[in-house]
Symmetry: C2
Subunit: 550 residues, 2 copies
């Protein structure tokens, strides 16, 4: 006697005598997708169903249905699946749009001028927040300091993240609000940079929390604005689904606000920021897919170490350019196992950030130990898997470990990586081809906002190992190139697989969500430079056009 079920059954019964429900058709396309096995499939039209899914791919010879609800003629343009970014930071991307962006400042002086201009243009902001700086790009030979910021923004506190998010730069006012003095102690997993006995103004990894804890939390409306900015940016780059790697409870509430009001467009595979937020969000385990497959808490994001640029990556041997340092391991072996057990018992997928070879080995050891207890389809993920001891590379194939990697990091980092590691420890660096050869599944992302979310840059990097500048010629460690199709798969179907979403999206085929983009060239037919220059013209999610180039 459940009223609703009965009425719907009645409704369907009434529909039966009427002609079968019409479909919609996106026709006259140069359609390309990969199939389940990663083979290229070309097609000429996409038939869609009532609920925004692909019914059938049509060749030019296939008969079109006579009754259609609507039909879009794409006039021969190229249609490919929407990209899936396997690793990004949605809210950080949005806030980065609202905050000061120093990512293209070419010198310390230019950075200071930008900060001063931003402070003048935003008098209502109590804190000057932003990021994107990279002292490597400035040829500074040292971290910037609080002293460099003296007088730049009056007496307002300044706090600016390094491009990789693993260090931040504060002025005196910020340190004063936070109560940081020469007596302050670096917390576990972090380091206060010093000038003599005094804090210099740079806070590495966990030490950033000394300042961040006193920064006022953004208001709900600011979060909404940031989300909308981030979503628009992703859609404009042709990204229709993304993993959100480290969703805080407040991030999650923002996504739900958007979903509740019907403003969620991009599909989010969410990984809670640490076990506490994950458990508070999920309660008893991963959530169901919400809002017509647009949001799901899938698992937990843990941090095993820091980043290479700030020498936070945890190495087996000391840094070549800092022989007294080997980076920072964030968790003891016991702690990482305990967290992975706690998450796995409730069915959360585990994704661990590991950049240095020591951190990667630690996670692999933990997976080795836990895999017998937690059987079944666990899809353990290692995020970045950037510098791996060649001896550990084969271990990625075991237990179905997913290597979640970021091709653009290789092209951005290779010079720095050579300096940090020296010439003899590069064989397992950004080792995409080795991962595939060893039977690991590759999932590609951009790590936005560390890098631009633009997937074409990553795609081109993946099969060339060369940057947009064509450097180094022939590719860096070119044996680790993969094919164009392998890279495409890692940016689409396998990025979905990495988030337990391969039945929902990532390809175009019957039953998949109709998430696709219209682009201005055929990405399988152009050279790498042309591929990088690809323009997305339209982005469709679930059979709705949600973005169009003006």
């Amino acid at each position: 006697m459940r009223f609703r079920t009965k009425l719907i059954a009645g409704l369907l019964a009434m529909l039966a005598p009427v002609p079968a429900l019409a479909d919609a058709l996106v026709d006259n396309v140069n359609g390309i997708t990969l199939d389940k096995d990663g083979k290229v499939v070309r097609f000429n039209g996409v038939l869609l169903s009532l609920d925004g899914k692909v019914t059938k791919l049509l060749s030019s010879k296939d008969k079109r249905p006579e009754k259609l609800d609507w039909r879009a003629d794409m006039k021969g343009r190229t249609l490919i699946p929407g990209f899936v970014d396997a690793h990004g930071h949605m809210m950080e991307l949005g806030f980065r749009q609202l905050e000061l962006d120093l990512s293209d400042a070419r010198s310390l002086d230019e950075a200071k001028a930008r900060i001063a201009a931003y402070a003048a243009a935003n008098p209502e902001r109590k804190w000057i927040l932003g990021g994107g700086w990279n002292q490597e790009a400035w040829g500074l030979g040292r971290f910037p300091t609080a002293a460099d910021l003296a007088g730049v923004a009056g007496d307002r506190p300044i706090f600016l993240s390094r491009v990789d998010g693993h260090a931040a730069w504060a002025n005196e006012a910020a340190m004063k609000v936070a109560g940081v003095t020469a007596k302050s102690v670096s917390p576990a997993g972090g380091r206060i940079e010093k000038t003599g006995a005094q804090p210099s103004g740079v806070f590495v990894d966990a030490a950033q929390s000394l300042i961040t804890k006193v920064i006022p939390q953004p208001l709900g409306k600011e979060r909404n604005t940031a989300f909308v900015k981030a979503q628009g940016l992703l859609l404009s780059h042709g990204i229709t689904a993304t993993a959100d790697m480290g969703t805080s409870l407040d991030d999650w509430m923002t996504y739900r606000r958007m979903g509740d009001r019907g403003d969620l467009r991009v599909r989010i595979m969410s990984y809670g920021a640490g076990i506490e937020d994950t458990v508070r969000i999920g309660g008893t385990g991963p959530t169901p897919w919400l809002y017509n497959d647009r949001l799901r808490l899938v698992g937990v994001k843990l941090y095993g170490d820091g980043a290479l640029g700030s020498r936070g990556a945890w190495l087996k041997a000391p840094y070549a350019d800092a022989p007294d340092q080997s980076g920072l391991g964030f968790m003891s072996d016991d702690v990482i196992r305990n967290l992975m057990v706690r998450a796995s018992m409730d069915g959360y997928q585990v994704a661990v950030h590991a950049i240095g070879d020591r951190a990667n080995a630690q996670v692999l050891d933990a997976i080795d130990e836990l895999a017998d207890t937690f059987k079944g389809d666990r899809r353990w993920r290692i995020e970045h898997a950037q510098i791996v001891d060649p001896a550990d590379l084969p271990r990625f194939g075991k237990h179905g470990v997913i290597a979640s990697m970021h091709p653009v990091h290789q092209t951005s980092d290779w010079r720095m990586a050579e300096v940090r590691l020296g010439p003899n420890r590069l064989a397992g660096a950004y080792a995409w081809n080795s991962m595939l050869k060893n039977g690991s599944r590759l999932a590609f992302g951009s790590d936005y906002p560390v890098e631009s979310p633009d997937p074409f840059a990553g795609w081109a990097a993946a099969f060339t190992r060369m940057g947009a500048d064509g450097q180094p010629f022939g590719g860096w460690q070119p044996q680790e190139r993969i094919t164009r199709e392998q890279a495409w798969r890692a940016f689409t179907a396998d990025a979905a697989y990495a988030g337990f979403a391969e039945d929902k999206f990532g390809r175009l085929g019957a039953g998949q969500r109709a998430d696709f983009i219209i682009v201005d060239r055929d990405p399988l037919e152009v050279g790498p430079s042309e591929l990088r220059a690809t323009k997305v013209q339209e982005t469709w999610v679930g059979g709705e056009k949600v973005w169009e180039r003006k």
Copy 2:
């Protein structure tokens, strides 16, 4: 070109030539409801629409539609609107079912025996938690103490709430875990009871947090279980909608879990527990109605004072039975205004707990001051409004202040209230009729789990001012009785109005959600004792039967 909209439009167009969609009919009922103006309407059948709303009430003479999706014959039984509880604590009700219940312990010795039995029956519980004790009912003449609990549950910590939730009783083990000693200081708004210089084991109001902060948080699955228990209990009492007065963020996540998996039955008007949780839940303001009108964050719950039983209620003059005490005001005038402003700026409704006459005056003063700034339909709520200075009673009519009151509290408390207040301060106590005469809107609830959620007990109390025991004969302060119909309205339509839900539920009439109950007698035709004994036979929410007496 929005696919879904277009297809739905197409679907509707296709339906047009088919005969109009059939309705469902609940027929052959002794139907009773109030109309918008509070007048009794009797009917014989209810026509329902596809989406679980009432289309029309039918008299026995009205023609029944020929085409019906389904029809239920109620065989003449009585059908009335589901009750709306204007003030309850959903998760506490659920946890109370899982924890030790001392509410019918008649003596300290009986309580101790119950605690020992519960501890033995639940060896896996690290803490012995529960509540419902009332030293008044034990004739103890004092609070119980930690010493009373020595040896009762081995070395496990014990923490038990008083029946009104405004005090709690701990053993030595609990105080040890919490680090409470003779040196511990009572926090603002709370009091550590003492035996000489030592903490006695009872913690009043805010002082409870000294212990609660060290109690392990319940797991998500325990929250789920508690929710399901609470929901089942409410539905079994004929309550189809409730205000949840003090929803924590974790409570909210539990409600969403239930909604996401389709297990939310009862409708919840949620008031966040304080401003911080409210803002984190709502982000930018009240949420939309979610899950087909089953969940909405409406506003914020604030606490102005404690309770009368524990002498936490804030009085203008000292307690008659404790001349050195006047209770506890939880907020300064500035703080209460600031919180009300912050909430109102974002559109949250404000509901302030005020039991003592001083606390009520403080809230009325704040509303007086803020009402000019925050115009429009604000529906300021005072929760309990229990002891009001007769001089302040007319002020409830101003600015549309809603008096959210609990008839059963009067019948439970009247003896205690006379002791606490003495004979000359009772004219504004539980003053329901005065509220109506002064133009205030009454919204009735049970304050479950402080009292049973049973609405028939409250309904009978409201027009008799006598308890289930018939005491005091003729009714306590009988001039404050209201009519049976006025009380019914306060337990249904006006409880919905108090939560901005009068267009959704609270009555039966066209456009209202089809929330109704089948009961075993006509509640307008029986005496108060028979009314109290009413049995709910079936509970329907949104046109679905969600509970049935076995």
